[in-house]
Point group: C2
Chain length 415, copies 2
């Protein structure tokens, strides 16, 4: 199964000043688990283990940990209380198999799990401190934060190295273009490590500040962040890890503005992204996902003459769609997308990857054409949606709207 | 970073009759990589390594493999041809750093990569055969299929154990309810292993058939599949790994029917899922994402009186939305969703997790109310969208529409 826990744990441990060197994934095999625990115990100071604490017979973690430590599993009254409390909250009967979840290795310390049935535990094997947490992501995350990281901080004592991480998310540059813009960072700011990560369609610039003095590294991180912001300018979306739709939504809310959308090629994706945000009903009114030309005409009032003259994928059509969505809903702003996500439908003139975006503001109506060379339908929908939202974001911030550069050729709008 | 390659590689290797015991993730640290390669080489027969074959200085895999094998990296003319061909196709200049990608451990055999710059390679370390592939998912997947799996089959020779895997995807049951329904499978069909996996909101039932005789295990797998189908009935979505939106879209296409949607709480997600499918314009006409009440009235023609009397979240409102989307677009079928995705907006009467779904067919209009106990906005949107699509799917298949059971309480519709 795809595992998202280990990336999460690694990031949180790095932030807590722990150098994460390896991650192991092991099947539900008792002997193998025992061997791996013993092997790791001989080279690491601290280990975080997730999963295998459930009630079924293939949940072997506690048993394997006990064997690796040379002890037995015994009923832990605190862990039993965790299981009992869970079933009491849910007003459900506890089963015999859930009692197994309270059997922890002798000498281990229970780690509280106030939101699930599986208590965690701490156990020392060959001088290496193991922390065992459930695999269910919300339970694991909570236990890591409230139980494990504080105990690791105690183990680190005054020697605790500090690491602060800042993530600057950007849109509209390739990974290599972003890299070039900030290439001098490590030279300009000794002690800051740079990481560039693609989170399609965004590029994230990560700054890692290491040191002993909290004040000093905080200051160094702030200076380097300001330097990066100056290099990247309006392509910065957020320094707080907020997504493009959250950033754009918050700008709409701040300006007491509302939004309508008309989506052809993005097929509802922009509306879906906007409505992922709790409270988006403050600013989001309507999206007309007009996949058919008839719907463009009937719902949005696009002129059949424009469709005939320019085709569905055209700046003029996108502008009429945006104007229609704005008119129908009474929104302050509107966005429209019409393009060719592929795999079919492309032509020499308008290849797969072409999108026209319309933006209506209180005082203007603009249309832009872009081309993206990704080829894949899913990637095209994603980058089309982001390009539309980013156009609105920059408009709301008062930036002059200009072209977006991605790998491959870029076309500018003709309006 | 979240790694999706290892789950993919593990599944493909299992299908090729390889028992996958462990997965390691290691940072970009040369000494550590060498140590890990040597350690693994002493206990495995075959290893698949992904990533670290790029042109930059933190791509250390080839160098580490060479050191672990006690050889040097040398220019491999075939690998150089791969890099050169890539740049020729893209009509771009090859950089000096890309030449590094053609430096492979002495004695290794190149594995072709016709879609990227990084050639893979095969290298034996301590009698263990390592296959090195790039980390870029499409390149890795292609190399695994065309280069690595065939070579592993050769190594297996006539002793090659066979494993066939069948995945049966379902919707509308909890993991434990699904488990109970098929609990007798391993007893009924010796030699078949059962796996139940939650892929929210779907539950996947996996059947693993092991054996030596291809014909025999194929037959056994087919019998067990038929048995599972009989147990699960109309809750089976697909035995080919197709998603709910693909299955539903294909049914619409087969019946030459078209679809319109009216989405409030799902916020465009259903339209987005439908339009992920290439060719969805064959059957999908329009979705009105009517987040505001005004849009429900103005675009879909919902009666203000109904909204006043019943509220936005109600079976009657959902029915009027569905009727409106169908009327506006001229579609054969329409679906509507209105509910409370949370985190706010719930009441005692209509708690977060409540959704009303409207379905209009050529000859009827139905409304249903459901409650899901997930609490999270994203999960609610996802399960609301799936519930709506599944209602349509079952209608298209001619099943009587009934209630959906999930963990927690379930409410039936009042129409």
């Amino acid at each position: 199964l795809v595992d998202s826990n280990s990336a999460y744990v690694a990031e949180k441990l790095e932030q807590a000043g722990v150098t994460v060197t390896r991650h192991h994934a092991v099947g539900d095999d008792l002997e193998l688990l025992v061997e791996v625990f013993q092997c790791i115990s001989r080279r690491a100071d601290v280990v975080v283990v997730t999963g295998g604490l459930g009630p079924t017979t293939d949940d072997l973690t506690a048993e394997a940990a006990a064997r690796a430590a040379g002890v037995a599993c015994v009923l832990n009254p605190q862990a039993l209380a965790v299981v009992e409390a869970f079933f009491k909250r849910r007003k459900r009967m506890m089963t015999e198999s859930n009692k197994k979840q309270a059997m922890l290795p002798e000498g281990s310390k229970m780690l509280d799990n106030p939101i699930g049935t599986a208590a965690g535990f701490q156990l020392t094997i060959n001088d290496c401190v193991f922390f065992f947490a459930p695999g269910v992501p919300p339970e694991m995350r909570r236990m890591l934060k409230n139980e494990i990281i504080p105990r690791i901080a105690e183990l680190q004592g005054d020697d605790r190295p500090l690491c602060l991480i800042k993530t600057i998310s950007t849109f509209g540059m390739t990974e290599s273009a972003a890299g070039e813009k900030v290439a001098q960072l490590e030279t300009e700011f000794p002690g800051i490590k740079l990481g560039i990560r693609a989170h399609f369609p965004e590029i994230h610039i990560k700054l890692y500040a290491y040191g002993e003095d909290d004040q000093a590294i905080r200051k160094r991180l702030e200076s380097s962040e300001a330097w990066v912001m100056a290099q990247i300018g309006h392509r910065v979306l957020s320094t707080q890890g907020r997504s493009l739709s959250v950033v754009t939504g918050d700008l709409l809310r701040e300006q007491s503005a509302t939004l309508a959308i008309a989506e052809s090629c993005t097929g509802g994706l922009i509306a879906h992204q906007i409505t992922e945000n709790a409270g988006s009903s403050d600013y989001f009114l309507f999206s007309g996902v007009t996949y058919s030309n008839a719907a463009k005409v009937d719902v949005l009032g696009v002129s059949p003459e424009t469709l005939k003259r320019c085709g569905a994928v055209h700046e003029e059509t996108a502008q009429e769609m945006a104007a229609g969505a704005k008119r129908v809903s009474g929104a302050t702003f509107s966005l429209a997308t019409t393009g060719i996500a592929g795999p079919s439908g492309g032509s020499d003139d308008k290849p797969v990857g072409t999108v026209c975006i319309g933006l209506a503001t209180p005082d203007k109506l603009v249309g832009r054409r872009y081309f993206f060379p990704f080829g894949k339908r899913r990637m095209n929908k994603t980058v089309f949606a982001a390009t539309a939202l980013d156009l609105l974001r920059r408009e709301l911030l008062g930036f002059t709207i200009e072209r977006i550069q991605f790998q491959g050729k870029t076309q500018s709008g003709n309006t």
